[in-house]
C-alpha cells in the first residue's frame, strides 16, 4: 500500500498551477485506479495573484479533503514559497523553479530547485507548457504516477496540435526530476 500523498501546488495565477494539480489527480483516479481529491482556494485571486491547490492521493478512501501539512510542496513564486514553506511536513519534499524562487533552507524538507521555466523557454519556447514540465519533474522525482497516465489525460483534454509540445515539456521535466530521485 502506498503512503498517503498530500500535495500543495502554489504559485501565481496564470502559471497553470491549478490545471497541473487537476491533471495529476485526474490521471491518478482514471488511469491508475487510485483515490484522489483536488481542492483549491477560491477568492479574489486572479492572473498574477497567489494561488493554491491541494491534492491528496491514496489507495484508501479520503474523507477530510484539505491538506494541512503537505509532504510535497510545489512553489513557483517567491511569494508562495514564503507563504507555504512553513507548513511542509518535516522530512517532506519541496520542489521549486530556480528562476522564480530563491531557496532558503529554513524548513526541514528536501529542497529541489530545478530550472524548469528556463528549460521550457530554451527547448520549446512557449511558457504555456511550463506547468506540464513541472508536473513531469514532480512525478520524475516522486514516482507518484506514471508519465503515460498524464499523457492520457492530456490527450483527452487538449487539442491535438498542442500534444507534441506538451509531451516534450513532460519529458524534459521528467528527466530533470528523475536525476533527483533517491
Amino acid at each position: 500500500m502506498m503512503e498517503r500523498s498530500r500535495l500543495v501546488f502554489s504559485g501565481s495565477g496564470g502559471q497553470g498551477v491549478i490545471t497541473a494539480s487537476i491533471i495529476l489527480a485526474e490521471a491518478a483516479v482514471i488511469y491508475e485506479n487510485k483515490n484522489a481529491i483536488q481542492s483549491q482556494s477560491y477568492g479574489a485571486a486572479a492572473r498574477g495573484g497567489s494561488t493554491r491547490s491541494d491534492v491528496i492521493i491514496d489507495d484508501t478512501e479520503i474523507f477530510f479533503p484539505k491538506v494541512v501539512q503537505p509532504n510535497i510542496l510545489i512553489s513557483l513564486t517567491q511569494e508562495s514559497y514564503h507563504k507555504f514553506a512553513a507548513i511542509i511536513r518535516p522530512g517532506g519534499l519541496l520542489l521549486v523553479d530556480s528562476k522564480y524562487v530563491k531557496v532558503e533552507t529554513k524548513v526541514d524538507a528536501r529542497h529541489i530547485a530545478l530550472p524548469m521555466y528556463d528549460t521550457v523557454m530554451k527547448k520549446i519556447g512557449k511558457p504555456i507548457v511550463f506547468n506540464i514540465c513541472v508536473l513531469g519533474a514532480l512525478i520524475g522525482v516522486s514516482e507518484l504516477i506514471k508519465p503515460e497516465s498524464i499523457l492520457k489525460v492530456l490527450e483527452t483534454t487538449i487539442p491535438e496540435d498542442f500534444m507534441d509540445m506538451n509531451k516534450k515539456a513532460l519529458d524534459l521535466g521528467f528527466e530533470m526530476g528523475e536525476k533527483e530521485r533517491r
Partner: protein, 384 residues
C-alpha cells in the same frame, strides 16, 4: 468530461449535473451564482445534447417561475443557486408547494446572510430550506458528503419530487460543489428513476387536477395538453379553483403536510459508521461529515468507541431514527458549519438533550477533524 469505464474525476457540481441528467432532467432555468455556477455551466452543454432545454433567465425569481411552468407542461425540471438566489426563490417555491408541482432546487451553500462569503463554505441555510417560504408547509431537503452520493441524492431528489409532487431541495455546500473527486456514473437501470404519474382520464372527459386517487397520489395532466384546468397559489378545490371554504382550506393544508410528514421514514436517507457499540456519536452532513468520519476513523484506531451518523435527508427531519440510533450514546456531537441548526433538531429528538453538543465552525473554512477532537476531549474530561 474525461470518462473511462464510467470513471470520471469531477467537481461536486458536475456530479449533481450528471445525476440530474441520469434522472431524466428535461429543463433547467437558472441565474449563475457562486458557488453553484458550474451546475448551470455544465448543464448548458449537457442538457441540449440529450434534447433538453437550458435557459439562462434574467434573475433567480424568473428562474424559479420558469421551472414551475415547465414542470406543469410535463417536464422534469431543476434550477440551481446559492444563498442570495435561494432567498429570491422562496416566494415561487411556496407556490410550487401549494400547487404541488414537482421541481428540484439545488442550493450550493455559501456564507450568509446577504451576499456574505461567496467563495467559502457554510451550512447556514438548513433552516431556510425548511422555513424559507411563508405559511405552514412541508418540504424535502437532501444533502451529501461525496460525489457518488451527490449523484445518488440528485436522482433521488427527482424521484421524490415526482412521487410526492413537491419541490425538493438539494442542500449542497461550497466544499462539495467545488472539490474534485472520483465519480462512477451508474449504468441506466442501476438506480431507480421515477417517471411522472400522468392521468388516465381521456381527452374530453373532466379531469380533476386535485382529486387524489385511492392511494392518495395526484396524477398530472401536461398543462396545455388534453385537459383544461386551473392552477393557483390560493387554497383550491379539486378543480384547482380558489376557495376559502374552511373545510377545503383545512383539508388542503393538512394534505400538503401529511403527504410528506407521514412518509418521513421512507424519505429518510442516512449512512452510519461504527454506530453499533458507540459511546460517542457524531451527527453530521454535507462536507462537515467528511471531517467527522475522518476524525472518528482515527479515534477508532486508538480504541475510542465513536461512530458517525451521516444525515442525507435533513427535511423532513428523521427524528425517530435519530432517537433510536443515539439511545445508547454517552454523548452526541453534532458537527455542522452554522450556529446550530441541526443540533436543535437532534436535541428535540433524543431522550437526553443535555448530552448533545455542537461542534461548529462559521469562519468560511471547512471544520477540521482536530476542531471536533478538541470538543470530544473536553466532553471526555481530558485536557485540550
Amino acid at each position: 468530461m474525461n470518462n473511462r469505464n464510467n470513471i470520471t474525476f469531477v467537481q461536486g457540481n458536475e456530479a449533481c449535473v450528471e445525476g440530474a441528467i441520469y434522472a431524466g432532467l428535461d429543463f433547467f432555468a437558472g441565474y449563475p451564482i457562486t458557488p453553484s455556477t458550474e451546475i448551470a455551466e455544465h448543464l448548458a452543454s449537457r442538457l441540449p445534447q440529450k434534447g433538453g432545454k437550458f435557459i439562462q433567465m434574467e434573475d433567480e425569481i424568473a428562474s424559479m417561475a420558469a421551472i414551475i411552468g415547465a414542470s406543469l407542461t410535463g417536464n422534469k425540471v431543476m434550477t440551481a443557486t446559492s444563498g442570495p438566489g435561494f432567498s429570491l426563490k422562496q416566494e415561487a417555491l411556496g407556490y410550487a408547494c401549494m400547487a404541488e408541482i414537482p421541481c428540484v432546487i439545488a442550493n450550493v451553500q455559501r456564507g450568509g446572510p446577504s451576499t456574505g462569503n461567496p467563495t467559502h463554505v457554510s451550512q447556514g441555510d438548513v433552516n431556510q430550506a425548511r422555513w424559507g417560504t411563508h405559511g405552514d408547509h412541508a418540504i424535502i431537503a437532501l444533502t451529501a458528503s461525496n460525489h457518488q452520493d451527490v449523484f445518488n441524492i440528485t436522482v433521488q431528489a427527482f424521484n421524490l419530487a415526482e412521487t410526492y409532487r413537491t419541490p425538493v431541495i438539494l442542500l449542497l455546500d461550497e466544499v462539495i460543489g467545488h472539490m474534485r473527486e472520483k465519480l462512477v456514473i451508474p449504468e441506466p437501470g442501476d438506480l431507480p428513476v421515477v417517471e411522472r404519474l400522468r392521468t388516465s382520464v381521456k381527452k374530453g372527459v373532466d379531469y380533476h387536477p386535485y382529486l387524489p386517487r385511492e392511494d392518495g397520489r395526484l396524477p398530472m395532466s401536461d398543462f396545455g395538453g388534453e385537459h383544461r384546468y386551473n392552477v393557483t397559489g390560493l387554497f383550491h378545490d379539486m378543480w384547482g379553483f380558489p376557495s376559502n371554504d374552511p373545510k377545503v382550506v383545512s383539508e388542503l393544508l393538512r394534505h400538503l403536510i401529511d403527504k410528506i410528514e407521514t412518509n418521513v421514514n421512507e424519505i429518510a436517507m442516512y449512512k452510519e459508521y461504527w454506530l453499533d457499540d458507540a459511546d460517542y456519536i457524531l451527527i453530521s452532513y454535507g462536507s462537515s461529515a467528511r471531517s467527522a468520519i475522518h476524525m472518528a476513523r482515527n479515534r477508532r484506531a486508538r480504541g475510542v468507541k465513536i461512530g458517525v451518523l451521516e444525515l442525507q435527508t435533513l427535511w423532513p427531519f428523521p427524528a425517530e431514527m435519530v432517537r433510536e440510533k443515539c439511545a445508547g450514546a454517552k454523548a452526541v456531537i453534532v458537527v455542522e458549519m452554522n450556529m446550530g441548526q441541526v443540533v436543535t433538531q437532534v436535541k428535540n429528538a433524543v431522550d437526553n438533550p443535555h448530552t448533545v453538543f455542537l461542534a461548529n465552525r462559521v469562519d468560511g473554512e471547512l471544520i477540521s477533524p482536530s476542531d471536533i477532537k478538541t470538543l470530544l476531549r473536553m466532553i471526555q474530561g481530558k485536557g485540550v
